[in-house]
């Protein structure tokens, strides 16, 4: 229904004409909808031939009112009119104050034809007086009943600190419902911080997830503007005191921003680990970022090509973030603004931060920045050193050619430029780390104590092996890694790398372009020495072996059996440890050898199927 065509837009005169035709019961219900409807209905004349109250034990909760006017007779119980905890008192009050009553009767029960203590009066003044007295008595009875039925101690008796403690245990929806019970409860709920893992505000939906999954919430409003407006309040409530790991904002609709912004004042605070904003319009991004109280990582995805985001640097929470990613950027103004803001800041304890831009075609334009008085460009590694106006501070920019990304680090001059890379490795937890450093540029900057303190937690490490020393260094820094991939460039001394526990503990090892079987043999030796583990099987994938037969010559194997299969050669090797056997399979066409170390009690066929799936993957 459009806003122009509803009841509220009717004139008072028209409303009166409509309401005149309603019967008493409907009119009375209508009267309770709002104050303006109440005043209109109270202005309408009303009269009754008789009003009878059936009032057992003066109990207002179970009373029945029978109203007789010229045409109709209505029987009204308290339940018909209100919520069940209400009484008929308001109805009698209304009749007393607004209506003309010709007869007022109180009976003890419907069947009882004899009037009890109640009056049966026809004199209007006396009747009004009597009705007032009756109402007063009824009210007193009601108060006495309420006092008796009310629990002595309840939520309202708890001090605010205790209430807040209890609220801490409530999920999002429980808090939202409690918030709607009374003003005091709303203030208490609003004052408590709300913790979440990921919160997503989107044009089409809103999602709230917690670490444990308890209290997760999802609502979709699609294109329904009314539903969105109703949800807006809820979103505002969530954002008021939110502490989340990730908040992702992808809102294109200006209406939605207004809906949320109306209720959310700028002194509200978001405490986030990461904020991801897909940026569509100027007002919106500024507004979201100004809500930030604390945020370690700011990610801005550029969608509005016309506007330049250089003012972002002026927002303190953004500037204080440890990393800033600016994706799909088209110009360097943002970098320049950040530099300017950074130069103007007093030195901080942790003043280095990273910026990551995508879509720059070349690193070259950065050298023309006004803020820089000198640049040194290193073509070999696509490195750029910018000396800023503040002589205390220099900037290092490097570009990864293939990915067209530019990483920028702001560093102090007493730091060696390449050493900033070490900062990344000190506590790195990544899915994939790929090392292809033929010129040993990075390795030269690392000292042994630094390598010893570095802890890499990776899912996959891919190392292009140029020298044993280099491989040694990288594998030494591994704390945890599920998949190790080594690409052979120099075969010298590679049989030593299974000495590293993290490599031996990896679930899969890929050894590409291998030239000898020394590595496999080393692995077998190490593995045979290890005590049995719960998940002791691992896979190795070698390339470039010409024949599986050469594996037979391995010293560590006591016996070997060569089997034949449709598509591949298979060899089972019994090791010195009778508990363990090794299966090696060669896919003839691919010229690859898969080795899987497994216990005797494992089914060979199952293991092989797992390999095949792994290869396909």
């Amino acid at each position: 229904m459009s806003a122009e065509k509803n009841w509220n837009n009717l004139s008072v005169k028209l409303k009166c004409r409509c309401l005149m035709n309603l019967n008493f019961k409907t009119r009375y219900r209508f009267r309770r909808t709002s104050k303006s409807e109440m005043s209109i209905i109270d202005g309408l004349p009303i009269s009754f031939e008789s009003v009878t109250v059936i009032n057992e034990d003066l109990n207002p909760c179970s009373s029945v009112v029978i109203v007789q006017d010229k045409n109709n007779k209505f029987t009204i119980t308290s339940r018909q009119l209100y919520f069940k905890q209400d009484t008929i008192l308001p109805l009698l009050n209304y009749i007393l104050e607004k209506g003309h009553v010709e007869q007022f009767v109180v009976r003890s029960s419907e069947k009882d034809g004899v009037f009890s203590n109640g009056p049966n009066l026809e004199d209007s003044v006396a009747m009004k007086w009597e009705m007032s007295r009756f109402l007063r008595e009824m009210k007193e009875k009601l108060h006495a009943m309420e006092a008796a039925s009310k629990p002595k101690t309840n939520w309202s008796d708890l001090p605010s600190e205790l209430k807040m403690e209890c609220i801490d245990y409530m999920t999002l929806m429980e808090r939202w419902n409690l918030r709607q019970t009374a003003h005091l409860e709303r203030d208490l709920v609003n004052s408590q911080r709300l913790f979440a893992e990921t919160v997503i505000v989107d044009d089409k939906f809103f999602s709230f997830t917690t670490k444990s999954g308890i209290g997760n919430f999802f609502i979709s409003y699609g294109n329904d503007l009314d539903k969105l407006k109703r949800t807006g309040r809820f979103i505002t409530f969530v954002l008021q005191k939110l502490s989340a790991n990730v908040l992702k904002i992808e809102v294109e609709s200006y209406d939605m921003i207004c809906t949320i912004a109306d209720d959310l004042s700028e002194d509200e605070s978001l405490e986030l680990n990461t904020i991801i904003i897909v940026h569509y319009c100027v007002v919106e991004i500024h507004w979201w970022l100004s809500l930030l109280k604390k945020c370690a990582n700011v990610v801005i995805v550029e969608r509005d090509y016309d506007y330049q985001l250089d003012y972002v640097a002026k927002i303190p929470a953004v500037f204080n973030a440890e990393t800033i990613q600016y994706i799909d950027a088209k110009n360097i103004r943002l970098l320049e603004s950040l530099l300017k803001a950074w130069i103007e800041q007093p030195p901080k304890f942790n003043s280095e931060f990273q910026m990551r831009f995508q879509s720059f075609i070349s690193i070259g334009p950065l050298s023309r920045m006004d803020r820089c008085i000198e640049t040194q460009f290193d073509e070999h590694s696509d490195l750029l050193f910018l000396q800023t106006n503040d002589l205390e501070k220099v900037i290092l920019v490097f570009q990864l050619n293939k990915q067209r990304e530019v990483f920028t680090y702001l560093i102090s001059p007493n730091q060696e430029p390449l050493r900033i890379i070490l900062f990344v490795f000190q506590k790195l937890a990544a899915n994939v780390l790929k090392i292809d450093d033929e010129s040993y540029l990075m390795m030269n900057t690392l000292t042994i104590p630094e390598m010893e303190t570095a802890n890499l937690e990776l899912n996959t490490i891919i190392v292009f092996h140029n020298s044993f020393i280099e491989l040694y260094c990288w594998l030494n820094m591994l704390k945890k890694c599920a998949n190790v991939v080594i690409v052979e460039r120099d075969e010298a001394d590679l049989n030593k790398f299974p000495d590293f526990p993290e490599v031996l503990n990896a679930e899969t090892i890929q050894y590409i372009d291998a030239k000898n079987i020394g590595v496999l043999e080393s692995f077998l030796n190490e593995w045979s020495k290890q005590p049995p583990k719960l998940n002791s099987n691992f896979q190795m994938r070698f390339k470039s072996f010409e024949s599986i037969e050469s594996l037979r010559k391995m010293n560590s194997c006591l016996e070997s059996r060569v089997g034949e299969h449709e598509d591949f050669d298979m060899i089972a090797l019994d090791t010195n440890d009778p508990e363990k056997v090794v299966i090696v399979v060669q896919g003839t066409k691919q010229r690859e050898v898969f080795a899987c170390v497994l216990s005797e009690n494992q089914e060979l066929s199952t293991e092989f199927c797992t390999w095949k799936q792994f290869i396909k993957h």
Partner: protein
Amino acid sequence: MSVEPEVPIVQVEEVRENPVLYKIISSDNHVFTISEHAVKLSKTLWDLITNLGLTAENALDNPIPVENVNGKNMETIVQFCERHKYDEEEPEYTNYIREFVLPEWDRQLLSIDNEELFQLILATNYLDIQKLMDYCCRVIGDMAKDKTPEELRIIYGIPTDAEDDALERSASDSPGPSG
């Protein structure tokens, strides 16, 4: 301090093993004995004991009156403290939603009606027993599960704003302490 108990002493099973016992008298004159380790869980009681200088020798002769806690609640509190007296201290909750599984024994102990539960949490707050307070808050928080605002109002006994205003008015109409 010598308060003569009028009702029999409530013995809690677990207390017998501990040689140092203290006596506590509830507001309705029930007397409870509690071991030293257990009473330490209540910061209020332990402060009181140390300030009064109660020792192993004179502890049982000097019962501690606790005016704000009735016998029923005190019994629950003593049971709880005896049960958890050797528990390791738990780290304080910081920046995350409080989520833990309430042990079955404690869930049974706290399966009481709402009024008693609210009285118990007030008593716990007064006696400053952090662990029991956390558990009570958790149970009260759980009461809100799957409830509408209207149901919450009934369960928690929260007056509507209109009712609250009316109460406020009637309170201001009454003469008050100054007459």
